[in-house]
C-alpha cells in the first residue's frame, strides 16, 4: 500500500470515528466501543475492497456485507455516509423516532444495508446464504461479514461455520473484531472463546490473524482471502475497543454507553487533532 493511500484511509477512518461519536452522542445511546474497534476494517471494505456503487446500492452483482455484530451500526452508517450512500448530515438522526437510521441495521430503509441484523449469531448465517446463492447461480460477487468476539459465543456462529466449510464457500470472508471486551467484561472472564483461529480452522476455514488497525495487514488479509479457493476465509482482527478515543480505549464500560457533552467534546478534540 502506498503511503498516500494509507494516509487517505487513515483520514477517512478518522472521519468515520468522528461520525460514530456524533451518532451516539446525538442519540444519547448506542455502542461506541465496538464501533470504534471495527472502524478501520469497515473503512477498508467500503473504500478499497468491495464492489459497490453508492448511486446504485442494490445493483445485482455488488459485493454484500452483513454486520453480524449489528449493535455497531454507528460504524456501518458512518462508513456508508462517508462513502456517499446517504447524507452525512443524517448521522445525527441516529436512533431518533423519525430516522431511517435504526438502532440496529435495517435493510428496508437504509441505502447500502444489505441485511437487517442485530440479534447476535444470525448475520454470519445470512452471509452464508448470500454466498451460497452466488455459487448456485455462478455469480462472482463476494460476501463479507463482521462478527464480534463476544458474538462467537452464540452457538449459531458455529452452525454457520460448519455450513460455510461444508459447502466450500470461498466467496465468503468473515472478520472477527477481536477487541477482547463484551458488555459484562473481558471475553476471557465472561466465556472464553479462545483459541478463535484454531476453532475456525477446525471448521474448514483458511485463517489469518492480523492487527485490525493496520491497513497494510487488513489489505494483505483481504487479498489472501480472494486468492483462497475451496475454503471460506476468516480474519481474526486484533483490535482495541474504543480505538482512537483514549479514555474509551479498552474499557468494557464504553460498550453501550454514549458520551456526555464534555466527553463528546474531548473525543472530538482528540480525533480532530489527527486530521
Amino acid at each position: 500500500m502506498t503511503p498516500e493511500k494509507k494516509n487517505q484511509l487513515k483520514k477517512t477512518a478518522n472521519n468515520v470515528r468522528l461520525s460514530i461519536l456524533e451518532a451516539v452522542y446525538s442519540a444519547s445511546s448506542g455502542h461506541p466501543g465496538g464501533s470504534l474497534s471495527v472502524a478501520d476494517i469497515l473503512t477498508y471494505l467500503y473504500f478499497e475492497e468491495m464492489n459497490i456503487d453508492p448511486k446504485d446500492p442494490k445493483k445485482e452483482d455488488r459485493d454484500r456485507f452483513v454486520l453480524s455484530k449489528g449493535h455497531t451500526s454507528p460504524a456501518l452508517y458512518s462508513v456508508l455516509a462517508e462513502r456517499g450512500f446517504f447524507p452525512k448530515s443524517d448521522i445525527k438522526t441516529f436512533r431518533h423516532i423519525d430516522s431511517y437510521l435504526q438502532g440496529h441495521p435495517d435493510m428496508k430503509h437504509t441505502p447500502g444495508v444489505d441485511m437487517s441484523s442485530g440479534s447476535l449469531g444470525q448475520g454470519m448465517s445470512v452471509a452464508c446464504g448470500m454466498a451460497l446463492s452466488a455459487k448456485i447461480s455462478g455469480k462472482n460477487y463476494r460476501v463479507y461479514s463482521a462478527l464480534g468476539d463476544g458474538e462467537i459465543q452464540e452457538g449459531q456462529i458455529w452452525e454457520a461455520a460448519m455450513f460455510a466449510g461444508h459447502y466450500h464457500l470461498d466467496n465468503l470472508c468473515i472478520v472477527v473484531d477481536n477487541n477482547n471486551l463484551q458488555i459484562d467484561g473481558r471475553i476471557t472472564d465472561v466465556m472464553n472463546p479462545h483459541p478463535i483461529d484454531e476453532k475456525f480452522k477446525a471448521f474448514g476455514f483458511e485463517v489469518m490473524v492480523i492487527d485490525g488497525h493496520d491497513f497494510d495487514q487488513i489489505e494483505a488479509a483481504y487479498k489472501k482471502a480472494k486468492e483462497t479457493k475451496g475454503k471460506p476465509f476468516a480474519i481474526i482482527a486484533k483490535t482495541i475497543k474504543g480505538k482512537g478515543v483514549s479514555f474509551m480505549e479498552d474499557q468494557a464500560s464504553w460498550h453501550g454507553t454514549a458520551p456526555n457533552e464534555e466527553q463528546y467534546q474531548a473525543a472530538v478534540k482528540e480525533l480532530t487533532a489527527n486530521n
Partner: protein, 314 residues
C-alpha cells in the same frame, strides 16, 4: 375420493412439480428430507437442494440470505423445530425484513403420533401469527397443500406452511379447487351454527355436520386454511347468519385458529364462539385415532361444542 395422502407428501411432490417451473426455487432441510418429503425435490433437483444438518437456526438465516439475492427458498423441518427452535431467527432474520422465505413445517400437531409430546407441535400457529407480516397456512388435504405451495411461491413475503405427518382423506378435486391466500372456503351453508376448521379437522367438521343434521341441527362449515391474514368477511357473515361459531383445529385452543376467529367475532359481530383444540396440554405417544379421541379432536367433540355454542345464543 377415498384416497388418503399426507399433506407433507403433497408438499414434497409440489416442490418437485413447481421446481421445474421456478428456477429460483431452492430447498433447505435440516436432516429430515426423508420425513418432510423435501427429498422428492432433492431427487429431482439435487443442485438446488441443500441439507443444513441438524441446525435449524442457521438454516432459517441461510434461507434469509438466499432470499435477499432473489432466490425463493423453502426451509423445512418439523413444526416443532421450524417454528419452535428457530422462532427468533424467523422473527428477526425473516419476519422483520419481510423476506421472501417460505417455511415448510411438517409433522405439526398431535397426529405426529408415536414420537410423542416433544415432537407434537401445538403452538406453532400461535407463535407464527404474532410475527408482523407473516402469512400462516394450514392446509386440509393434499390438493390444498399443493395449491398452498403454489400460492406461497407466487406471493412475495414470508409464509409459514403447516403440514401433517398422517395420511388424510383427499377432500378437494385438483381440477376445480381454487386456493387464495387469506380466503376461507364455504363448504356448506347452514342455519344454526358455523363450524370453522382447518387442517385435518376439516374432515371432522364435515362429519360433525352430518351428526348434527341427524339431531335436527343445521351447521354450516367453513374451511379456513389461511389463519393469517384471516378472512374476516366470511367470519362476520357466518356470525351474522348463524349467530354461533365453533372452531376446530389440531392446535392448542390458545392462540391458533380459534383465537383468530374469536378476535374477529368479538370486534365485529359478537356471538358465542366455542373452540375445539387441545386444551392447553402437551400430547403423548400413541396411534393417531386414539390420540385424536383422547385430546378431544373428533367430530363428536365438535358436535358437543356446537350445541354449547347454540345454547349460549339464548
Amino acid at each position: 375420493m377415498a384416497d388418503k395422502i399426507a399433506t407433507r407428501q403433497a408438499y414434497g411432490d409440489a416442490l418437485a412439480e413447481f421446481g421445474a417451473i421456478y428456477p429460483d426455487l431452492v430447498v433447505l432441510d435440516a436432516d429430515l428430507a426423508g420425513a418432510t418429503k423435501t427429498g422428492v425435490f432433492k431427487k429431482a433437483f439435487p443442485d438446488r437442494f441443500f441439507d443444513c444438518g441438524i441446525a435449524e437456526g442457521n438454516m432459517m438465516c441461510v434461507a434469509a440470505g438466499l432470499s435477499t439475492t432473489g432466490k425463493i427458498p423453502f426451509a423445512s423441518s418439523f413444526a416443532m423445530f421450524a417454528a419452535g427452535r428457530a422462532f427468533e431467527q424467523v422473527r428477526n432474520a425473516i419476519g422483520y425484513p419481510h423476506l421472501n422465505v417460505k417455511i415448510g413445517a411438517t409433522h405439526a400437531g398431535i397426529s405426529v403420533g408415536e414420537d410423542g409430546a416433544t415432537h407434537q407441535c401445538l403452538e406453532d400457529i400461535a407463535i407464527m401469527r404474532t410475527i408482523p407480516g407473516m402469512v400462516v397456512i394450514n392446509p386440509a388435504d393434499a390438493t390444498e397443500a399443493r395449491a398452498a405451495v403454489e400460492a406461497a411461491i407466487k406471493y412475495v413475503g414470508p409464509v409459514y406452511l403447516r403440514f401433517g405427518r398422517a395420511a388424510v382423506p383427499v377432500l378437494f378435486d385438483k381440477a376445480t379447487y381454487k386456493f387464495e391466500i387469506g380466503k376461507g372456503i364455504q363448504m356448506n351453508e347452514g342455519r344454526d351454527v358455523t363450524i370453522v376448521a382447518n387442517g385435518l379437522m376439516v374432515e371432522q367438521a364435515l362429519a360433525a355436520r352430518e351428526l348434527l343434521a341427524n339431531e335436527g341441527i343445521d351447521a354450516a362449515v367453513i374451511n379456513m386454511p389461511t389463519v393469517k391474514p384471516i378472512d374476516s368477511e366470511i367470519i362476520i357473515n357466518a356470525a351474522k347468519k348463524t349467530g354461533a361459531i365453533v372452531t376446530a383445529e389440531e392446535h392448542n385452543i390458545i392462540g391458533g385458529l380459534g383465537s383468530a376467529v374469536a378476535e374477529v367475532v368479538c370486534e365485529n359481530m359478537p356471538v358465542p364462539v366455542v373452540r375445539v383444540g387441545t386444551n392447553d396440554v402437551f400430547g403423548r405417544s400413541g396411534k393417531v385415532p386414539p390420540l385424536l379421541e383422547m385430546y378431544g379432536l373428533t367430530a363428536k367433540n365438535i358436535c358437543e361444542s356446537a350445541k354449547k355454542a347454540i345454547a349460549l345464543k339464548k
